[in-house]
Symmetry: C2
Subunit: 437 residues, 2 copies
């Protein structure tokens, strides 16, 4: 191990020790005190607006000079309006119920032991995310409200923005008489530091990566700390033979085009053969008119060609489509691209989804009770929809009030993660001298 | 990557594919059908008793020839009585309620979407364990009852025993019209195969190691599949100044000596200074008479010496003790050894426990309401006891009816894991054409 690796580990251990120490106070802090910190942070974000925007400007200028794409620059940029949004987000988290201390279950055992299963914070959360400075405030707020200390590692392009936002948040904690170290930012943005951070066992209880597939994969292969995997969504909509086709049209358009870049957007459309000749040309027109590129199976290609659509090798212009290959069924485009396949039976649809699902969100459109039930019970995913858009998989839409991500692993939790999902359990056991026989 | 690694990966992928396929049927199997498989397996274990004992004899003889310790040989050995216990265990799991399909939460959103949060199997579980053939039947039963397919990798010394037990279990599945591949045993017992097994992402949903600290550490560092960490228990009992000392004596003796080899046994005793002069000599006599070796702090040493006990460098004979060093506070002996420390305050006790806890089971003995509350709320562990022995942390004692292990990580679950803890959630969402605005 090189000297620099040891230095990095020592740096991270120091952060970790501070967070663990702060967590012992935060875990028992009252809801009122945590809310005071959040509301103070909201006020101070606005008070420090010009400084935050100035620091952010340094990041944006440096990123632009390095050739960052305009859309990425946009995600990095903070404005007065966006700082309003950050402050409003903090106030919303303050308004949510505090899950810590909830009693989940309990009872008295035959020997008189009284067991109460309660909700407690997870402890110290590690959050790794990309160059989106609003996540710094957002993640810190969700952690603090749920009684968790956090160590944040944001994208290096946002370092100046993150530093000032974390500073303001830590000042707000201090004003509410909570330890500043409830929120720690890793200011050494090297890749090696990120890798060592994923191995901070004994200090970090859970690691949550928020970002694209590359980040998530890196965390999964390198982390020794337990991870909650979020965000990969190769979502399907299956239009059954018994679908209300008008409803199917609405749902397909919404699931694909309302916000194509997100994980709950549809990536593959499956159509039952019995309705394909009617439905496919119609929906193709709707999708193409919205700029969606179609990558279709052979049967689809025949129907589309018979309806006057033109097969090309790139399929990107209006009135055109291209043939899908095997990789298309497995791809999360996060873009205005849709794979389309005709299936002969419900079973074939279930088989296809089962093979390619990332266990996120899957939907069937049907008026057939048995088809709805079969699909919903057979498909192994966090959220299985009947007659609704996959786009609803979201903490706000589910009524959780906030969201730190959408888990598509099966351990711990699945689907949208709100405050409750940032807790674990603790058994409180009270006796009067019981011993085991 | 070597040819042999690729061969191992292909072998494991085939097992994984078979398990995933079998799981699709098992996840939707009725409780009655799963129970039929378990009861059939119970009957068949007894029918095949002589064959199982013969296969086990091959394992025991080979292990003895290789110099396996007598106590390890005892864990490996099967007898008619132990096969009765295996069969009885299968019947007990059949009698437990099936958690699959439980409705956990739900409601109707303002837009009319009806959301139901249900319990579903985790999927395919990987279980890695040591040379204890009864675990093969036990783990398979818990997995099948909770709707999970499993891939089992037992200690290589038990391979013949495991093969025949898995064979009988698979025959029972077939007789109940369930896929045999719901239970797969890895018959290649090489270390490299175990390592590759920990990386079987996409096939194995969750890995549960059952065994000692070495096995758990190996899994934590090598696995890319999500892991539930079980079993490390550096448990403390703190005897407060306001303790009923008669009760404290009973609890301390029970927590240390009733079964010292298990994870919920006490490893360190903390005593408040105000009661140490009275309590320590008494409890020392009780523990020493039961063969417990004492490793004590300097203050304890003075009190013990004043009471006529003799300090030695090994402290193993009656009437003797030795000085503890720093490593003793962190050691899980799993043996008749106890570290003992005097603390001046409740806060010092909480600090000591917080520093050395493995977050498993911790206890306070006190009649002081505030001390009890403070200890219970401050200590970060799965189970925090007031006036009871730590030995109760157990699936059966908690009324779960069975146990696959005790989680001492915070993700997913904490404490004893029964059937419910082998499930995850699935949201069933029903609409009538809702799209997101």
């Amino acid at each position: 191990m090189s000297n620099s690796t040891i230095e990095i580990q020592n740096y991270l251990k120091k952060l970790g020790e501070a967070a663990v120490r702060a967590e012992r106070t935060l875990a028992r802090a009252s809801t009122a005190q945590k809310n005071r910190a959040l509301l103070t942070a909201a006020r101070m974000m606005k008070e420090k607006e010009s400084e935050i925007i100035a620091a952010n400007g340094v990041d944006v200028d440096a990123a632009a000079a390095k050739g960052m794409s305009v859309s990425m620059q946009d995600r990095l940029r903070l404005t007065g309006k966006r700082i309003d949004d950050i402050a409003e987000g903090l106030r919303q988290v303050a308004a949510l119920p505090d899950p810590v201390g909830d009693v989940l279950d309990g009872g008295t055992r035959p020997n008189g032991l009284r067991i109460v299963k309660t909700r407690v914070p997870l402890g110290v959360l590690g959050i790794i995310y990309e160059a989106r400075p609003n996540v710094t405030a957002d993640a810190a707020a969700l952690c603090v409200k749920s009684g968790n200390a956090c160590i944040l590692r944001g994208g290096k392009e946002a370092i100046n923005s993150n530093e000032i936002i974390a500073r303001v948040f830590r000042d707000a904690l201090a004003e509410a008489d909570l330890p500043e170290d409830c929120v720690r930012l890793i200011t050494d943005t090297s890749r090696e530091t990120a890798t060592e951070f994923m191995k901070l066992d004994g200090y970090v209880d859970v690691l949550i990566p928020r970002g694209g597939a590359g980040l998530i994969q890196a965390v999964l292969t390198q982390a020794t700390v337990p991870v909650i995997q979020t965000g990969t969504g190769n979502c399907h909509v299956y239009v059954d033979r018994a679908a209300d086709l008008q409803m199917a049209t609405k749902i397909v358009i919404n699931a694909k085009t309302q916000r194509p870049s997100v994980c709950n957007a549809m990536e593959t459309l499956l159509i039952h053969a019995a309705v394909a000749e009617r439905f496919l040309p119609e929906i193709a027109a709707e999708l193409l008119s919205r700029g969606v590129e179609l990558r279709v199976c052979g049967k689809c290609a025949s129907i589309l060609a018979a309806s006057g659509y033109v097969q090309t090798s790139d399929g990107s212009a209006a009135g055109q489509f291209k043939l899908a290959d095997e990789s298309d069924w497995a791809t999360e485009y996060d873009d205005l691209i849709l794979a389309v396949k005709i299936v002969d039976t419900l079973e074939e649809a279930i088989d296809h989804v089962s093979r390619y699902t990332t266990h996120h969100s899957e939907a069937i459109v049907t008026s057939d009770y048995n088809a709805a039930t079969d699909f919903q019970l057979s498909i192994d995913a966090a959220c299985v929809y009947v007659n609704a858009s996959t786009r609803f998989t979201d903490g706000f839409e589910f009524g959780l009030g906030a969201e730190i991500g959408i888990s598509n692993q099966k351990l711990h939790t699945r689907g949208p993660m709100g405050l409750k999902e940032l807790t674990t359990i603790k058994y409180l056991i009270n006796g009067n001298g019981q011993v085991r026989g």
